[in-house]
């Protein structure tokens, strides 16, 4: 029973950072129609922001996390300006260019920090226990931060003018630009938020995962599974699918092993693709 509780707690933690990553990916896809293959590397760069600022330069952890969000967001804007904007009519081209960008980010991090695992000391040592399950503050912090950030994003999208413009672009780009919404401006904001969310997820989890320059691969696989299961255009779907996938993956990992869990996740995604390509929660398909 304790193990069950503990696994559920672990799954909640996994769900929170996976949701951040997947929502970021969906943001980018929703507005620009491009699948960003470099999303895992954006997570990795966010983690290395913490490695550099917090572990090496001894800045406060929170500051390093915030810097991770902003820095990776700016990397996102650079990607938008240099690749996705010129390739707007060519979604496959955008995807392939993002594969190129992924290689560049990986190599730059290898140059800066080496191939070895970066070590990040925990920022707090406390933990809470309930029903026999242990939740460290470090993990609790990720969960709380994810909930706050996603709530903030939700409010931003629903309430602010930018948010409405963003949703309009995601629904129908042409109609939105006819209403005087600047596509470039909207794409820039979407890219900043989408990349920033991946970056902040990396920054928050850096003390828990020991980042390497190649960590992005497993992240992007996870993110793909989640957005396919949730339906590629749907932010709510991504959150629900993140929770679902995190629970399935964590439980299978605990009770079988990690590789089996990955196979189960991929098989889940493949079967969703076959049975219902719009995802379990996605209403409509975006070309």
């Amino acid at each position: 029973m304790d193990l069950l509780w503990q696994t559920a707690v672990n799954a909640t933690y996994a769900a929170s950072y996976m949701a951040l990553i997947a929502v970021g990916l969906v943001m980018i896809f929703g507005v620009m129609g491009v699948i960003n293959f470099a999303h895992g590397e954006l997570y990795m760069v966010g983690a290395y922001c913490v490695v550099f600022l917090y572990a090496q330069e001894n800045f406060p952890f929170l500051l390093a996390v915030a810097a991770g969000l902003v820095f990776v967001g700016i990397v996102g804007i650079v990607m938008e300006r240099t690749m996705f904007r010129p390739l707007r009519d060519n979604p496959l081209g955008g995807l392939i260019a993002s594969i190129g960008f992924l290689l560049i980010l990986q190599t730059l991090v290898v140059f800066g920090f080496g191939r070895r695992m970066g070590h990040v000391p925990p920022s707090t040592h406390g933990k809470i226990e309930f029903f026999g399950a242990v939740l460290t503050y470090q993990r609790l912090f990720v969960i709380v931060a994810a909930i706050l950030l996603l709530a903030a994003l939700w409010a931003f999208l629903r309430r602010s003018k930018f948010g409405r413009a963003l949703r309009a672009c995601a629904q129908d780009t042409e109609a939105a630009s006819l209403q005087g919404i600047s596509m470039n401006q909207t794409a820039r904001i979407a890219m900043f938020i989408g990349a920033g969310l991946a970056g902040v997820a990396g920054a928050l989890t850096a003390p828990l995962v020991s980042p390497t320059p190649y960590i992005g691969h497993s992240i992007i696989v996870t993110a793909f599974i989640i957005i396919i299961v949730g339906g590629v255009g749907s932010l709510e779907g991504a959150v629900i699918a993140a929770v679902l996938y995190a629970f399935v993956h964590t439980f299978v990992t605990t009770f079988f092993d990690g590789v089996i869990a990955n196979i189960v996740g991929l098989a889940l995604m493949l079967s969703v693709l076959v049975v219902r390509p719009t995802g379990l929660f996605g209403a409509r398909e975006r070309a």
Binding site: I35, T82, M83, P86, L87, N90, P91, L92, G93, L95, I96, A97, I99, G100, F101, L102, L103, I104, Q106, T107, L108, V110, F111, H217, V221, F224, I225, I228, D257, V259, I260, N262, I263, L266, A267, M269, L270, S271, L273, V274, P277
Partner: protein, 348 residues
Amino acid sequence: MPEPVGAMPATGTGGSIGRIAWRLRPVFLFAALAALPYLLSYSQQEIAVLLVINVLLVSSYRLLTLTGEWSLGHVVIMGVGAYASALLAKQAGVPVPLSMLLGGCMAAAVAALLSFPLFRMKGFYFLIGSFAAGEIIRLIWKRFTDPFGGPKGLKRIEPFPDIETGFLSIDFYEPVNYYFLALVVVSASLFVLYRIERSRIGLTFHAIHWQDRLAESVGVDTFRYRTLAFVIASFFAGIAGGLYAHYIGAVNPTRFSVDQMVYVLVWAIVGGTATFHGPILGVVVLTVINEIVLRALGLDTARPLIYGAILILSVLYLPNGLESLGPRLRALWQRRRGGSAAAGSEPA
């Protein structure tokens, strides 16, 4: 360096000697390819072997892209051929040339099986689906130590058997000899691939790419033709895998990871997939750049960065690949010459 056919200048208008030379270009090409290994150092010969194998890999990939679908699982399919051939030779004692052929058949069979889920999707869904399917296969290799050897893979795979007759003895441990073996196998495969593309089937692939609805309306079963392209491409990828496994003598799941797939994508895209020789041009040019320029300059660790930059730049500025560079430059030159001539005769 092997001269790709398309890179030869069209000297046809330059006089009868030029015309004869142009006609005889396959002869020159084969002469160059035959002379090539003797001009290279031992380690460069080894690279030449891999290059020949990669030519088959990327050319078979192009056959799949003819129908308009881009797979991210092609390297894993190559791995299926490699694993199957290695296991057949190691555990079932199948003679190596036959095991390679069976490896290709195995890759084709896996592709046929995968086509049922995968070809219910199109475009980017197919891309992601093929990625997922490939990862599943790779994880199965990783997870099941018996018979796949787990993360360490298979080692000490039977080499290609030496040929020992009274007056002829060929030891395929020597890269030069394996180079010629691979060259023969790959040339034959490329010939078949070329004939397929020029046949009615190949034309149908093109039709499905550009006008799938129209093709369906005249009675083409697009599912079956997509599957056919996938199966044929996978067969040749499997052959490439077999050539690889029995040359290197070891295979492991990492060797067939998506990182390797990225290189295939780069070769195909940088070369350009509109023509048969485009991807071959891509793999040859990039391998030469890689081996000569990067290794000589000691920029080995920067390789992914440079590949990434090349990939982005070619998607942005050379969307039809290197193959389009020649005609484009020629057009530019002619326009400039024509323009200056026009400007000289009638100032406008």
